[in-house]
Every structure is written in C-alpha cells, then in structure tokens.
Symmetry: C2
Subunit: 189 residues, 2 copies
C-alpha cells in the first residue's frame, strides 16, 4: 500500500486549513483522514488524540500571529505600533477564523508554557514603551489591550457589528484612537 506521508506537521497544517473552512469546533480526526485519503486509525500514530490535534493547531495559530505581530512592530512605536499590532489580530481573525478560534483553545499548562503566549505578552509590553506607564498600571493596560483586541475581534467575527451602522472598520479605527488617547492619559490611582 502506498504511504500517504503523514506527519504531525502536515496533519496540523491540514487541520488548520480545515478549521478555517468549517470552523475549529468542526475539526475532526475523521474528516482529516478523509482529506488525506487514509483510514481514521492511521492518524493515531502521528497524533495522540483529538485534543492533541487541536492543541497543535492552537500552537500553530499562536506562532503565526506572534510572527505577524513581530513583523508589524518592527520599526514602529507609539500609536503607530499600537494600530499595526491591533490590525494583526483583527486581520488574522478575518483571514483565518478557524485558526483564530483555535488560538483561544484552552491549553493545558505544559502546552501553554511551550506556546507563543509569552511572545504575545512581550509584544504588548513593547507597545507600551511608547507610553509612560509604570507597574502595576502597565499590567492593567496589557490586560485591557488584550481584552479589547480579543473582545472586538470575537464580537465582529460573530457578526455583532455587521447589521448596523457605522461600518465596523470605522469603529475599529476610532477605538484604536481612543485606546491611544487613554494610554497617553492613563488615570493613576
């Protein structure tokens, strides 16, 4: 029997593509096997189980977003950096909705530690270098930025902003403006 050439990496990539097509929740070992023209059980030599597969897709998505974030931040500072980074999240979610959802998959501690999560946090802090925030306000601000980015993208993806004016793009720009203004005048306790 000819071998299909399965590997963790190929399965993970194909899983990510599948997620973007049908949604992360609908990513299934069976469908993946079907796409490789292979029997389901065969995948279990490469991937521990369904959870493992999903974890790998999540890690891939986190890496990809971190890479894009790093590229966006290079040579930028202040509001410029903030806006570019914000767009990285939003654009990624629009281009790769399944992967984006995957990135929110709850990772177990080991996977989380090995993930690009730390890079994301570092980049947020790098953006805040353009603003004058000491601890613990810096941490509060990091959490706020993470919340806004994730929250907005998540609501937008769910279609919450698509049935009313103004355009979502406009709100997004104005929200980034607002965040910039807020960070410049952050109210200290």
């Amino acid at each position: 029997m000819a071998r299909a050439g399965l590997t963790k990496e190929r399965l993970t990539r194909a899983g990510a593509e599948l997620a973007d097509e049908v949604g992360f929740e609908q990513v299934t070992v069976s469908e993946l096997a079907r796409r490789f023209g292979v029997k389901v059980a065969s995948l279990y030599s490469h991937v521990k189980n369904s959870h493992d597969l999903k974890t790998r897709i999540a890690l891939l998505a986190l890496e990809e977003m971190a890479d894009r974030g790093a590229a966006a931040l290079a040579g930028r500072a202040g509001k410029d950096a903030l806006a570019a980074f914000a767009d990285v999240y939003r654009d990624y979610a629009r281009e790769h909705p399944g992967r984006y959802t995957a990135a929110r998959f709850r990772l177990d501690p080991e996977a989380a530690a090995a993930s690009a999560g730390a890079r994301h946090a570092q980049m947020m802090r790098a953006i805040l270098r353009g603003y004058d925030l000491a601890e613990p306000d810096q941490t509060h601000a990091v959490r706020l930025l993470g919340s806004v980015f994730h929250g907005y993208v998540s609501l937008e993806t769910a279609g919450s902003f698509s049935h009313s004016a103004p355009d979502s793009q406009e709100s997004w720009s104005r929200i980034v403006d607002a965040l910039d203004a807020l960070l410049r005048t952050w109210p200290t306790a």
Copy 2:
C-alpha cells in the same frame, strides 16, 4: 411507565446547569437524558435537536444577564452605572461559566431577533447617557464597552490572568476607572 415530566423549560434549565458544571461544549442530549432518568429519544419530543437545545440555553443566559443588568442600572448613573453593569457581566460569567459561554453561542437570525440581545444594547446606551457622546461616537463606545467586557471576562475565564500579579480584581477595577475616564474625554475625530 411513570412520566418524568419533561418540558422545554425544564430541559433548558437542566441544560444550563449542566453547562455550568461541565462546560457548554460538553452539553449533550444524552447526558441530559441520563440526568432525567429517561431515554435519549424521549427528549426529541420536547426539543428539535441538539442545536435547538443549545439555542434555548443561550437565550436563557441572555435573559438572565439582561435581567441582572437592568436591576444593576436601576437608580444608578455615570461611573456608578458603568461599574455596576460591568460587574454584572463578570460576576455572571464567574457564577455561571457554562451559561456565559452559551450566551456567546452563534444564534441564527430568528433566534437572535427573539433574544435579549437588544436589551443589552439598550442598556449600554443607557449607561452612555451619563457621558456626553453624540453619534456615531456613541456606537463606537458601545462597541468598545462590549469588547472590553466580553474580552476581559473571556480571558479571565480562560485563566489568562490567574498566574501573574496583580490580582485580576484589581485590574478589573482599574480598567473600569480607565473606561470611565476615556468616556468622559472621548477623542472626537
């Protein structure tokens, strides 16, 4: 055979409790049947299918949150109202994580129209009465608030803030402070 007294309502409530115990994704027609000491097929006289059940749980959660929100807003204005309303979301998610997730379940248009979604939007606008915002900035602000509330709660529930100082409660308070400050000095285009 003694009847179990199944109804849509009881199934929905039990489904919501199940969601809080094991997670919304793990809510299953089978498990629900098990809890009622009844065969799986029996549920299908009361609920169209699994999707229908989840939709009902989502609608219940949205109602409950809207009710709490309304109670919190009564007699409050300005920052007071903002903080109380924010806490409604956060507290609800902490008390009822499964229901909270359910509330984010993607509803089809008919269900969405019949949901408490509109009440949520109205309450957000009511909060903004305490600030001086004209359209379209008011809509931008509503979207920002929704994003921050949902984003923060979602990240917090995922445990993103639980492994580092400062305390999540502190960040939450300071973020509400920051939002209040931002709304009072909202940057107009």
